[in-house]
């Protein structure tokens, strides 16, 4: 799958999974931090995103702390998915 297409897909999935009311895929910039100031996600969201990676891309991350290194922004997530997906 092309990177750009994957980025779009990932944004749509994140919005749906985390129930981000009022957010459209075009509102999420590729390098916008997911946590803290950027998209404003929190610790429960980081766990939910790990589940998203598992269910949609077959990627298992067992430690949420390790997960935070991957879940920086769309770019890092897509990069990780491309390298590790099993689905």
């Amino acid at each position: 799958m092309e990177t750009q297409v994957l980025k779009q897909e990932l944004k749509e999935k994140i919005i749906e999974f985390l129930n981000l009311i009022d957010t459209k895929p075009e509102d999420i910039k590729d390098d916008q931090p997911l946590f803290g100031e950027g998209l404003g996600l929190d610790s429960i969201d980081s766990i939910e995103l790990i589940v998203l990676l598992d269910r949609n891309y077959g990627i298992k991350i067992n430690d949420p702390k390790e997960g935070r290194k991957v879940l920086v922004d769309i770019n890092t997530m897509v990069d990780y998915i491309e390298k590790n997906r099993t689905k």
């Binding site: 610790s43 429960i44 766990i47 589940v51 430690d63 949420p64």
Partner: protein, 395 residues
């Protein structure tokens, strides 16, 4: 205001079915946390739990329960309730008098019946025998009906601080004249629901929990029940007085649904206000039964809050290292353990501790000892920032 006394107790945990067995286990530093024996879960082999080694069928037989629709949560409650009223010598007549109240706590209710609940929630044809037994209120309703309790009956769910709040509510009912005697307690059974819930938050320990240890990595779930009979000073005729409910308080951390704030305002305020309510100073507390779940968040924050409040943090342990975290039952079970401390003037060892948390450097008691204990504090801090502290005193 008149004092509130404990005149009877009952308990069932992974350490045993009686007060004696529980005390023996605590004295010996026994760890009753291990693999699940008879619980059908994916995690039976991989995680460790404080399971009570009686099946539901066995419990029903032991307790002479022949009606349908009684959940494990209710069965454990019945066991501890029976013991408590027997210990206090309460007659059937007194039980069903309108001046006897029941205040119970639990978080699981009938949700331990995962498969039945799934069926009943999702299909429209006919219900299982448990159809009216899923909510938290079902346990209190079961006991009220079985014993014909006519006074105020209440169920409280504030997550892990539930039964500490039940003790508080019961004591206050007596002080305000709503009841002469109140049977207070808590119960929770292991459930796929809670196992998977806590697992989804990544706070279950892969091994044995290690409260206040630097390398702690989560909690072990347990199950159990405990009840205490509370009676007001004015009602004491010839009942044996076991301990006094000296003080209590409930405060909220107001920070996050499932994590305590860094400063631990909730825990701090609960402890501080319990002391004030008891008319005691921090220096009067001889021992603390901590909430001490073994999670990264709780133990660090609880430690910090203790340091904030106490010039010198008293001796403390976590009995969750013996039996796991019994959720809605923990406040009541730990209150019973505190009363054992008071009755026998002894401290039981906290288990699985190797090195203290860097920031707080607190060390729990790790060996059994005989010591003077006049006032014990028992802390319970739950999801939703619900923090409660109960102080029990020697009589």
């Amino acid at each position: 205001m008149a004092k509130v006394y404990v005149t009877g107790m009952g308990i069932i945990t992974a350490l045993g079915d009686t007060l004696e067995l529980n005390r023996d286990g605590l004295m010996q530093g026994k760890c009753a946390i291990g693999k699940l024996d008879s619980f059908p879960s994916k995690y039976a082999e991989t995680l460790l739990f404080g399971e009570i080694k009686h099946s539901n069928a066995q419990l029903k037989k032991m307790l002479n329960v022949n009606v349908k629709g009684v959940s494990r949560t209710s069965l454990l409650a019945l066991h501890a309730f029976n013991q408590a009223i027997q210990d206090a010598g309460i007659s059937e007549k007194e039980l069903s008098n309108s001046d006897t109240s029941l205040v119970i706590a639990n978080t699981v209710g009938g949700m331990c019946l995962t498969d039945e609940l799934y069926q009943d929630a999702n299909q429209h044809n006919s219900g299982s025998e448990y159809i009216a037994s899923y909510d938290c209120g079902s346990v209190g309703v079961f006991l009220q009906d079985r014993f014909k309790i006519r006074g105020i009956v209440n169920t409280i769910n504030t997550a892990c601080s539930s039964s500490a709040n039940a003790i508080m509510y019961g004591a206050r009912l007596i002080k305000k004249g709503y009841a002469k005697r109140v049977i207070v307690g808590g119960t929770d059974s292991l459930a796929k629901f809670t196992i998977n819930g806590f697992n989804s938050l990544h706070i279950l320990s892969p091994g044995l929990c290690a409260p206040f240890d630097k390398d702690r990595s989560g909690l072990n779930l347990g199950e159990g029940a405990a009840f205490l009979v509370l009676e007001g000073e004015d009602s004491i005729v010839d009942q044996k007085i076991i301990a006094e409910v000296k003080g209590y308080a409930n405060a909220n951390d107001a920070y996050h649904p499932s994590t305590l704030s860094e400063n631990g305002d909730g825990p701090f305020l609960a402890m501080q206000q319990a002391l004030k309510q008891a008319g005691l100073t921090p220096g009067d507390i001889d021992f603390i039964n901590t909430h001490g779940t073994g999670t990264e968040n709780n133990d660090e924050v609880e430690g910090r809050a203790m340091i904030r409040l106490f010039n010198k943090v008293p001796a403390f342990t976590s009995t969750k290292s013996n039996i796991g975290h019994t959720l809605g039952a923990s406040g009541a079970i730990e209150a019973v353990y505190c009363i054992l401390n008071l009755l026998h003037q002894e401290i039981y060892p906290s288990l699985n501790f190797k090195e203290s948390i860097t920031d707080t450097r607190l060390i729990p008691e790790q060996s059994y000892s005989k010591t003077v204990i006049n006032n014990v504090m028992s802390n319970s801090f739950g999801f939703g920032g619900n923090c409660s502290s109960v102080i029990l005193s020697k009589v």
